[in-house]
C-alpha cells in the first residue's frame, strides 16, 4: 500500500498507478464471501480456487477474489467469472477443478451449475438472470466486484473520488445543499431528508465544535440484511460518505465519528475495522485529511443487542454507556444528542448514497425515483432502495430498485412470483412494524409517501411476501408479540398496551373472540400509537391496523364464525379425510401422535375429532391429498 496521501493529487496519482498495474489481469473468479455464502462453505471455495490456480500455474492470468454479498444468498455459494459474468450457484469444492478446466481454460459452460428458473430455463450470465436483470444496482454495484478487505480495489473503481472532489474544495454549506437538493431521504426508517438534517446539525450552536457523526448499523429488523451486506461488501462506501458528512456538517470544528453496529454482525465488524485501518494509513482518516484541514476519525461501537437500540435516542444512550431507552425528542438530537452535543445520525445505506450523489451529481440522482424535490426535499423519493425480499417468493434475497418501482415488479419480475402455484395474499413492507398490503395494492409505486399513505411504511426495507396459506390475524398476532417483547418497557401505553393487544389477538386466534373485540383492538391501538414516546410504540400497531383495514373479513370470521380460512389457527380448524380419495394406506394412522385416526387396511380412514390436536401431520404425510382442513 502507498504512504498517506497529503492531498487529492496524491490520491489521483496513486489511482492512475493502480489502474496501470491492473491491466494485466485477464480473468477474475469472484467468490461471494458474504455471511450467507460463508455459511454454505464459501471460504473453503476461496482457498480451493487459490490452490487450484496456483497448481496449474495460472496466477498471472487468473485472479481469485473474495467479495461481499451478491444478494442472492439463497443460491449460495455464488461464483461469478469475469469478464464473461458467468454465474455459478451452489458451488461445491468438488466443482472447482471442472470450473477452471472447462470454463476458464476451455471456454465452456458447466450447465449443471447454472441458475435454473421454475420453468426449467437456464441462465448463463449474471446480468441475464431475472433476479438481477430487473434491478438497478447502484449501492450494491460493487458488491460482487471488489474485495472488501482491499482499499486498492475500492480506489480502482473510483472510490474516494467524491471525497477528493469536495474536501478542501467545496464549501461545507454547499455540500449540505447538494445533499438536500438531491432529495436523499433517510433509509433507516423515517425517511427524513438527509440534507435538512445535516444543515440543522451544522447550524446548531456548538461552542467547542464537537459534533458527532454517527452511522446507524444496528439493523434490528428480523430478516433484514441490507446494511450488513453493504458493510461486508463495500465498507469504504460508508466510510467515504461519513467523511464527506463530517466535512459538510462539522468543518471547521472537531467532528467525531461512530458506527453503532449490531454485535451479531462479526464479519461486518471485522471488515469495517480493516477498512477503517486502511483509510487511516492512507490519511483518509485522521489529521488534516487530504490537506483540507479536516481532522476526523471513526470509532466502532458494538450494539446493546436490542431492537429498540436502533432508535436514535436509545442508540445514543447506549453509546454513552446507559441502558438503550429512548427519550423524548422535544429538543432534537441535531442540537443536543450524544453527550449533549449536536449529533447527526444516518443509516448505513443513507451514508452509502452520499459518495454516489457527490460523484454523479444532483441532476443525475434526481432523475431516479419519484416526485419533484427541486423546491422541497419532502417532495419525492429519489435514488434507489434496497429491500430484503423474503417469504413466499421464488427468489429471495437483496433487491435494489429505483424508488417508485411497483410491488408487482419486485415480487413477480425480480422475485419470480409465488412458488407452488399458490395465490399471493399480502406483502408486508417496513419490518416488524410495517403494514400488510393486499393484492389490489400490487401496482403501488414503492416510495416513502405512497407506502405511508397505504398504511405501511418503507422502514429499513424489509419485504415479506405472504401467500394464501397465511392467516392475517395470526400475522398481526405474531408481530404484536415481537414488538411487545422488544418494547423498552418504559411507556405504559406501549408496554402494557402491546401486551394486552397480544392477549386479545391470542384469544381471537384461540377461538375465544368476543363481540366488541375489534372495537377494543381499535381503541387500544389508537392509544398505543398516540400516547407512546418513541416510534416503536407509535408505529407498533401498523400490522394490526393494516390487517384490520384490508382483511377485516378474516377477523370477523375468526370472532363470529370461529373459522380460519387459511387453516393456520389450530383452534379454528378441523382435519377430515375424504373417503373417495383415501386409499387406506394407513400411513396417517401410524404417524398420528394421538392415535386419533382409525380404519382398516385399504378402507377409508376417519379422524376422531375429540382426540385430534390439529397438528396437521396427517395432511403432511398423506400422499393422496385425502386429508383436508376446514
Amino acid at each position: 500500500m502507498a504512504k498517506a496521501f497529503a492531498n487529492s493529487a496524491d490520491l489521483k496519482a496513486y489511482r492512475q498507478q493502480l489502474l496501470k498495474t491492473r491491466r494485466t489481469e485477464t480473468k477474475t473468479i469472484s467468490i461471494c464471501a458474504g455471511t450467507g455464502c460463508c455459511a454454505s462453505g464459501a471460504l473453503k471455495l476461496v482457498d480451493g480456487f487459490h490452490r487450484a490456480v496456483r497448481e496449474r500455474g495460472l496466477e498471472r492470468e487468473v485472479t481469485v477474489r473474495q467479495t461481499g454479498c451478491h444478494g442472492f444468498c439463497e443460491r449460495g455459494p455464488l461464483v461469478v467469472l469475469h469478464p464473461e459474468l458467468t454465474l455459478y450457484q451452489r458451488v461445491k469444492g468438488a466443482d472447482i477443478a471442472e470450473i477452471i478446466e472447462r470454463t476458464i481454460q476451455g471456454g465452456e459452460v458447466v450447465e449443471r451449475l447454472l441458475y435454473q428458473d421454475a420453468a426449467g430455463h437456464r441462465f448463463v450470465r449474471e446480468d441475464e438472470l431475472p433476479f438481477y436483470k430487473n434491478q438497478m444496482r447502484l449501492i450494491l454495484a460493487q458488491n460482487g466486484h471488489i474485495d472488501p478487505t482491499s482499499i486498492d480495489d475500492y480506489l480502482a473503481v473510483g472510490g474516494y473520488q467524491a471525497l477528493a472532489k469536495v474536501l478542501g474544495k467545496s464549501k461545507p454549506e454547499k455540500v449540505c445543499e447538494t445533499i438536500r437538493k438531491s432529495g436523499l431521504r433517510g433509509r433507516g426508517g423515517g425517511g427524513f431528508p438527509a440534507g435538512v438534517k445535516w444543515e440543522s446539525c451544522r447550524a446548531a450552536p456548538c461552542p467547542d465544535g464537537v459534533r458527532y457523526i454517527i452511522c446507524n448499523a444496528d439493523e434490528g429488523d428480523p430478516g433484514a440484511f441490507m446494511d450488513r451486506s453493504i458493510m461486508e461488501g463495500n465498507p469504504h462506501s460508508v466510510i467515504e460518505g461519513m467523511i464527506i458528512g463530517a466535512w459538510a456538517i462539522g468543518f471547521p470544528g472537531r467532528p467525531q465519528g461512530y458506527v453503532y453496529i449490531r454485535n451479531e454482525y462479526p464479519l461486518a465488524v471485522e471488515r469495517l475495522g480493516i477498512a477503517l485501518e486502511q483509510a487511516r494509513r492512507l490519511g483518509l482518516l485522521g489529521k488534516n485529511i487530504l490537506g483540507s484541514g479536516l481532522d476526523f476519525d471513526i470509532k466502532i461501537n458494538k450494539g446493546g443487542g436490542a431492537f429498540v437500540c436502533g432508535e436514535s435516542t436509545a442508540l445514543m444512550a447506549s453509546i454513552e454507556g446507559f441502558v438503550g431507552e429512548p427519550r423524548a425528542k422535544h429538543i432534537h438530537t441535531v442540537e443536543s444528542g450524544l453527550w449533549d452535543k449536536p449529533t447527526n445520525l444516518n443509516n448505513v445505506e443513507t451514508w452509502a448514497n452520499v459518495p454516489l450523489i457527490i460523484d454523479k451529481g444532483v441532476k443525475w440522482y434526481t432523475g431516479i425515483g419519484t416526485g419533484d424535490v427541486s423546491r422541497d426535499p419532502w417532495g419525492g423519493s429519489k435514488g434507489t432502495k434496497i429491500f430484503a425480499l423474503v417469504g413466499k417468493v421464488q427468489n429471495t434475497g437483496l433487491v435494489e430498485v429505483p424508488m417508485g418501482t411497483s410491488l408487482r415488479r419486485i415480487i413477480y419480475d425480480i422475485g419470480g412470483g409465488i412458488p407452488g402455484g399458490k395465490k399471493f395474499k399480502a406483502v408486508q413492507t417496513g419490518g416488524p412494524s410495517g403494514g400488510c398490503l393486499p393484492a389490489d395494492k400490487l401496482d403501488l409505486p414503492v416510495d416513502f409517501d405512497a407506502l405511508t399513505a397505504a398504511g405501511s411504511m418503507m422502514g429499513s426495507g424489509g419485504m415479506i411476501v405472504m401467500d394464501e396459506s397465511t392467516c392475517m390475524v395470526d400475522v398481526a398476532r405474531y408481530f404484536t408479540h415481537f414488538l411487545a417483547d422488544e418494547s423498552c418497557g418504559k411507556c405504559v401505553s406501549c408496554r402494557e398496551g402491546l401486551r394486552q393487544l397480544g392477549r386479545i389477538l391470542d384469544r381471537i386466534c384461540a377461538g375465544e373472540g368476543r363481540p366488541g373485540d375489534l372495537e377494543l383492538l381499535e381503541s387500544l391501538g389508537r392509544t398505543i400509537r398516540s400516547a407512546s414516546l418513541c416510534a416503536l410504540g407509535q408505529t407498533a400497531t401498523n400490522p394490526l391496523d393494516s390487517t384490520l383495514r384490508y382483511f377485516r373479513e378474516e377477523y370477523r370470521e375468526h370472532v363470529e364464525d370461529k373459522k380460519c380460512r387459511a387453516g393456520v389457527c389450530r383452534a379454528l380448524i378441523s382435519f377430515r379425510i375424504l373417503a373417495d380419495k383415501c386409499t387406506g394406506c394407513m400411513i396417517c394412522a401410524k404417524k398420528c401422535p394421538e392415535q386419533a385416526i382409525s380404519g382398516e387396511k385399504k378402507k377409508p380412514h376417519v379422524i376422531d375429532q375429540s382426540k385430534c390436536i390439529r397438528c396437521g401431520i396427517c395432511r403432511d404425510v398423506c400422499k393422496f391429498d385425502a386429508v383436508v382442513v376446514e
Binding site: 411487545a484 401505553s493 408496554r495
Partner: protein, 245 residues
C-alpha cells in the same frame, strides 16, 4: 441552572397567557398555576422520565399540534397548551384501564382511575396482587437524590421489572427509605424489628446503630458509615443520634 433555562418565556394554556422559565418542565409550570394534571411517575426532585403517560396534554408549536406528555416537555416560547381535549381524555382513560390491569392492587391507581371515571378495565389482569407500575421513581430517587444506584430495571417489554441487582439483595442500599417514601403505589415496604431495618422489596436487612447516649436504635450502621465516608466526618460523630448530638 443554565443561562437559557433562566430566561422567561410566554406560553398559553387553553387560551390564557402565562409566563414560565425556558426549559422547565411543562407539568411543573402548569401545576404552579393550579392546573390539575394527573401523574404517577413524576417528582420535582428528580429528572422527568415519561413512563406513566398520564400527564398528557396537546401542545401546538408553530403549525404542528400534537399529543405529548407534559412532565418531560421543556417549556418554550410561544407554545399553546390544551389541557383536557377529547384526545387527551380518551387516551388517558385507556392508559388508566391498562394500569388497572397491570396493578389492580394499587390504591393510588384505583383512586386516580375513579377520578377520571374509570372504575373497571376491559383488559386481562395478570397478577391481582401487583402494585408496581414501573414508574421508576424509586431508582431515580436512589440515584439522583441519595447518590446510590442500589436498584434498577431489568429486562424489557412486558417482562421489565424494578429489582435489586440480579433480583437478589441490594448490596449498595443504605436503607434510607427514600424509595419507600416516593413510591406512588406503596409497594416497597420497610420495617424495623429487633434492631434490624428491612427494605422488603430489595431484600435488604441492615442492623441499626444504638445511640451511645440515649440507647435508641436510630439508623443503619451501614448508612452511617457511608455518611462518614461521604462527609469526611469522623465515624465517632455518628455514634450519637441526631437528638443527642
Amino acid at each position: 441552572m443554565t443561562e437559557s433555562q433562566s430566561r422567561e418565556v410566554t406560553f398559553k394554556v387553553d387560551g390564557r397567557s402565562l409566563r414560565g422559565r425556558q426549559g422547565e418542565s411543562l407539568l411543573e409550570a402548569l401545576r404552579r398555576y393550579g392546573y390539575q394534571v394527573p401523574s404517577l411517575c413524576h417528582h420535582e426532585a428528580v429528572s422527568p422520565y415519561g413512563a406513566c403517560r398520564l400527564c398528557l396534554v396537546e401542545v401546538q408549536k408553530g403549525k404542528r399540534r400534537k399529543l405529548t406528555t407534559s412532565c418531560n416537555y421543556p417549556l418554550m416560547e410561544g407554545i399553546e397548551v390544551f389541557l383536557d381535549t377529547e384526545q387527551v381524555v380518551s387516551n388517558r382513560r385507556v392508559v388508566l384501564q391498562l394500569l388497572l390491569a397491570q396493578a389492580p392492587a394499587a390504591e393510588r391507581v384505583r383512586q386516580l382511575a375513579a377520578e377520571y371515571g374509570v372504575n373497571d378495565t376491559p383488559f386481562e389482569v395478570e397478577d391481582p396482587e401487583n402494585r408496581c407500575i414501573n414508574c421508576g421513581l424509586c431508582a431515580r430517587v436512589c440515584k439522583e437524590v441519595v447518590g446510590v444506584e442500589a436498584i434498577g430495571f431489568s429486562g424489557r417489554g412486558a417482562g421489565k421489572r424494578m429489582v435489586a441487582p440480579y433480583d437478589e439483595t441490594a448490596e449498595d442500599c443504605i436503607g434510607c427509605g427514600a424509595c419507600v417514601f416516593v413510591c406512588p403505589t406503596d409497594c416497597i415496604g420497610m420495617s424495623e424489628t429487633g434492631g434490624i431495618r428491612t427494605i422488603e422489596r430489595w431484600h435488604r436487612k441492615l442492623p441499626l446503630k444504638t445511640c451511645s447516649v440515649c440507647g435508641r436504635h436510630f439508623a443503619p450502621t451501614f448508612q452511617l458509615n457511608k455518611f462518614a465516608e461521604w462527609t469526611g466526618l469522623p465515624r465517632g460523630h455518628f455514634d450519637k443520634c441526631p437528638d443527642c448530638r
